[in-house]
């Protein structure tokens, strides 16, 4: 996914989706209940709630909760709220391992990899905004929720990415085309059994079901997101007890929640709070958790403040920033692979990390750390100006050329772009920088051959390596409106990626993605630049970690003193 960059004048959403440096062993589904840890309904906390478990956790965001409807929510603030109200069939454990959520166990998968059969948990209740139970979840609710993502009559508009993710289900194309209301591949066999049939084998299904979009809502929910927002009903551990749009949302516990009791007594989410204000509030103890990163201007002073020891939380994001080069513009020097390889040898990535106050690290390949398939040894291009110059000469560009680099208007992007500009000048390439507001840039980079080069980032949708290939480096997305900013299309790579999607053997699948990564890097459509890191400050009374590797924020395990 792409989330707008956190530094935009301190006005935009934070970056998120992340990662801890944990292994990703359980990231792919298995055929039977080989579960990383099945959450049961009891914990020590729920058996005898300690006093500190009743405190209310406060978190603040620069942005607002844009959608309460999980079919439309596609920003970090809305996701943080969704995570409190809703559950999905599949959840993540504390790392990137998949575990059953509303499913009683991991699904069984047919031999051909097409049909997934889920047994649902019994006694899972929906709760409304008063905390009252409104009914028991059944397979029909799951079928309705997924169909709703695909339907074009959802108001005020259809889900922007329903098709991109859930289009893999058999018959989803008919719903997306408005020819049917339900996908033939979604079947409620009985109230507690669900079958999902895919159009073709695709190992991403469980990751997709674990996204916020996979949230289960009651089958009688309105087809109007605005109506739904008036009384969002879910199976999550909290209900929305109070909401003042543009200011604050309060969440109270549901006593009859099916899973582990959260480690706190409730959540207060404040919105439209400036990031500098968040920082001061957190340090002064008036706010427990920052929803946005420490502002760049205060970064050094904050991380070096001895009084904040133990209160600074860090997370390496499962994300990559890269310089995308237009590989297919007719007559452009950038369509010559040796030129793009030369650029890879010319850009000083360590300097880019220094510019970011040392946050994150240099990126040398496509798959970021903590993403299954990340290969620390993958380093095809080193900083080598001699090599870069000789490659330019081999490409007949020893004298260099002029080109343009587009990026957004944040200070960090501008500083990075200037550093790259200086690096490329050393191999006689004159780069003109074009800074555009994010929304304008979005239009530029989705228009073919409008931007010769763009410096941009990509954050994971889910921890599966396909998410760093199919949406941004495939032929299918090198089309007008697509997210493939380098207009890179290699049919061999596409064929390998298609095969990898359905490969049942996890180890083999990872090896396939590493092969794909190596092939793409040989074609050099990008100069991978940096991995990013989120750094936030918490109040002194916070215990627990809320920067989850996949969920933008996980407030369930956070406890605070009274």
């Amino acid at each position: 996914m792409d989330i707008r960059r956190e530094h935009r004048l301190g006005l935009t959403l934070a970056s998120v989706l992340v990662l801890i440096a944990t292994a990703c062993g359980g990231a792919t589904p298995s055929a039977a209940p080989s579960v990383a840890g099945s959450p049961g309904p009891t914990t020590a906390a729920s058996a005898s709630p300690a006093a500190e478990l009743n405190g209310t956790v406060s978190i603040a965001f620069v942005g607002d909760i844009q959608y309460w409807d999980p079919a439309l929510a596609y920003d970090t603030v809305s996701w943080a709220a969704s995570r409190l109200l809703f559950d999905q069939l599949i959840h993540y454990d504390a790392g990137t391992g998949l575990i059953p959520g509303l499913a009683a166990e991991m699904p069984t998968i047919s031999d051909d990899g097409l049909v997934y059969t889920f047994k649902l948990r019994d006694g899972v209740m929906f709760h409304d905004t008063t905390g009252a139970e409104t009914g028991e979840m059944t397979a029909d609710d799951v079928v309705f929720s997924i169909n709703r993502l695909l339907r074009q009559d959802l108001k005020p508009n259809p889900s922007p990415v329903g098709g991109a993710f859930f289009g893999i289900i058999a018959g989803a194309d008919k719903v997306l085309a408005g020819e049917a209301e339900t996908a033939s591949g979604l079947r409620a066999v009985d109230p507690s059994t669900l079958e999902i049939e895919l159009a073709k084998p695709d190992k991403r299904l469980l990751n997709i079901l674990a996204m916020g979009f996979g949230s289960v809502i009651p089958k009688d929910s309105p087809m109007d997101a605005t109506e739904f927002a008036k009384n969002p009903i879910g199976t999550g551990p909290y209900h929305l007890s109070e909401y003042t749009q543009g200011q604050r949302a309060s969440f109270a516990l549901n006593d009859s929640y099916w899973g582990d009791r959260p480690m706190n007594g409730g959540v207060e989410m404040r919105v439209n709070v400036d990031d500098q204000t968040q920082l001061q509030q957190a340090i002064a103890g008036q706010l427990d958790l920052m929803g946005d990163p420490v502002p760049p201007g205060s970064f050094t002073a904050t991380v070096n403040d001895p009084t904040l020891e133990g209160r600074i939380h860090r997370r390496i994001d499962v994300a990559i920033f890269y310089l995308a080069m237009d590989t297919s513009a007719p007559g452009s020097p950038l369509s010559e692979v040796k030129v793009r390889q030369a650029f890879n040898h010319a850009v000083d990535k360590d300097n880019l990390v220094r510019i970011a106050n040392g946050r994150g690290g240099p990126a040398h390949c496509i798959l970021p750390p903590a993403m299954p398939g990340h290969d620390p040894a993958c380093k095809p291009y080193t900083l080598d100006l001699t090599k870069a110059s000789s490659l330019m000469a081999e490409a007949g560009q020893a004298g260099g050329f002029s080109t343009k680099l587009y990026t957004d208007t944040t200070d960090l992007s501008k500083a990075w772009a200037e550093s790259i500009q200086a690096d490329l000048a050393k191999i006689n390439v004159q780069v003109e920088l074009v800074l555009q507001d994010w929304d304008v840039l979005l239009g530029t980079i989705t228009t073919p051959h409008e931007a010769p080069m763009v410096l941009i980032g990509w954050f994971q949708d889910f921890p599966d390596p396909s998410d760093f290939v199919d949406p941004i480096l495939s032929c299918a997305t090198a089309v007008p409106g697509g997210a493939n900013s380098s207009w890179y299309c290699n049919e061999e790579v596409d064929a390998l990626a298609a095969a990898a999607l359905g490969e049942p053997d996890d180890a083999k699948r990872i090896a396939m993605y590493q092969d794909i990564q190596n092939r793409i890097m040989a074609d050099a459509p990008w100069v991978p630049t940096t991995f990013s890191e989120t750094v936030e400050v918490v109040s002194a009374r916070v215990a627990g970690t809320y920067l989850h590797p996949v969920y933008p924020f996980d407030l369930r395990p956070i406890s605070v003193g009274e």
């Binding site: 996914m1 792409d2 935009r8 006005l11 935009t12 607002d64 844009q66 596609y74 074009q152 108001k155 005020p156 508009n157 259809p158 922007p160 990415v161 329903g162 098709g163 991109a164 997101a225 605005t226 003042t244 749009q245 543009g246 200011q247 404040r270 439209n272 709070v273 400036d274 500098q276 204000t277 001061q280 509030q281 340090i283 002064a284 103890g285 008036q286 555009q436 507001d437 929304d439 304008v440 979005l442 239009g443 989705t446 949708d461 949406p471 941004i472 997305t477 089309v479 007008p480 409106g481 697509g482 997210a483």
Partner: protein, 315 residues
């Protein structure tokens, strides 16, 4: 007078339609695609198109504009792309916070500015006058966001961190809670106070040179009585006029201060509208600000005419 008011209202509607048309054109021809902004980067072209159709963005621009202006005449400011609620409803919801800040800020400005201006005028070149000029020049030059952050840091953050004193909350909004209002209103007020001090000083200096003041002095009245009972009333009209203009401006939203203090007003809404490319909401905030200025100007003109009977309504 009724005819005068009717003409002013008609003129106000014309201004609103003109501003509406201009803003509409500027907003819609500016680069950027609201449908793409809603959909995000990895939505397909078809998904973006579906969003465009759902929000009526696929209609020809002239038709969209005519529909918008037609709605405007019926007090329909359209529906927000993001909130999917009537823009007018959202604006009215945010209005109380902005009114609170505007009134609080103006009160502080007057409480500081008027006495300072009076004092400076009565002793031009004196210590208060010279010091006042230096301080007010500084405050006029200081950007509101800087003053706001400094006040937050010095009066809210430091006492909380150093002594555990929660004197003021660090940003936020609670309706009519003076602890929340104090710092944003002070930020707004001290910036405006500088203008009012200068305005009052000039108006008073002007009045103090009039014959009636000399007459009053010759009757043996104290200087304080001359200034406050006689000259002050006559120096008020330009100040009232300025209060009206400022109130009109401030009701349209105090963008920077609302952002710094996380104040849930119309200014903050305008920022969200811009960053989210929510064009109906953006147009709504601009038109609402325009309407505030038009209405408050009319009210001020009538009030000044009432105070100063020498002013007549020109046909």
């Amino acid at each position: 007078m009724i005819g005068y008011i009717a003409r002013r209202i008609l003129w106000g509607i014309t201004v609103l339609l003109a501003v509406g048309s201009l803003t509409f054109v500027l907003a819609y021809v500016a680069p950027g695609d609201p449908a793409r902004a809603i959909a995000g980067r990895n939505a397909s072209a078809a998904a973006v198109e579906a969003i465009r159709v759902a929000h009526g963005m696929d209609r020809p621009l002239p038709q969209q504009m005519l529909d918008y202006l037609g709605g405007l005449l019926q007090l329909d400011l359209g529906t927000s792309y993001r909130l999917n609620r009537p823009v007018l409803e959202v604006l009215l919801e945010r209005l109380p916070a902005t009114v609170e800040l505007a009134v609080g800020g103006l009160l502080i400005a007057l409480l500081i500015g008027l006495p300072l201006g009076m004092h400076s005028a009565r002793r031009p070149g004196g210590l208060v006058d010279r010091l006042g000029i230096v301080v007010t020049s500084f405050l006029v030059a200081a950007p509101a966001f800087w003053v706001g952050y400094m006040l937050l840091y010095a009066l809210a953050f430091q006492p909380a961190v150093r002594w555990g004193l929660a004197l003021f909350p660090i940003g936020g909004y609670e309706p009519w809670d003076l602890r929340y209002l104090a710092l944003p209103a002070l930020t707004l007020g001290i910036g405006l106070a500088a203008y009012y001090a200068r305005l009052m000083r000039t108006a008073m200096l002007d009045e103090l040179h009039h014959d009636y003041v000399r007459t009053a002095r010759s009757k043996g009245l104290t200087e304080r009585r001359v200034a406050w009972r006689h000259a002050f009333n006559n120096a008020l009209p330009p100040v009232l006029m300025q209060i009206g203009l400022d109130l009109g401006l401030l009701l349209g939203g105090v963008v920077i201060i609302e952002a710094v203090f996380s104040w849930r007003g119309i200014g903050r809404l305008a920022i969200d509208a811009v960053t989210q490319e929510d064009l109906p909401l953006l147009l709504g905030t601009v038109l609402f600000a325009t309407m505030c200025i038009v209405v408050v100007n009319l009210v001020v003109d009538l009030a000044v005419a009432y105070l100063d009977r020498r002013i007549t309504f020109i046909r």
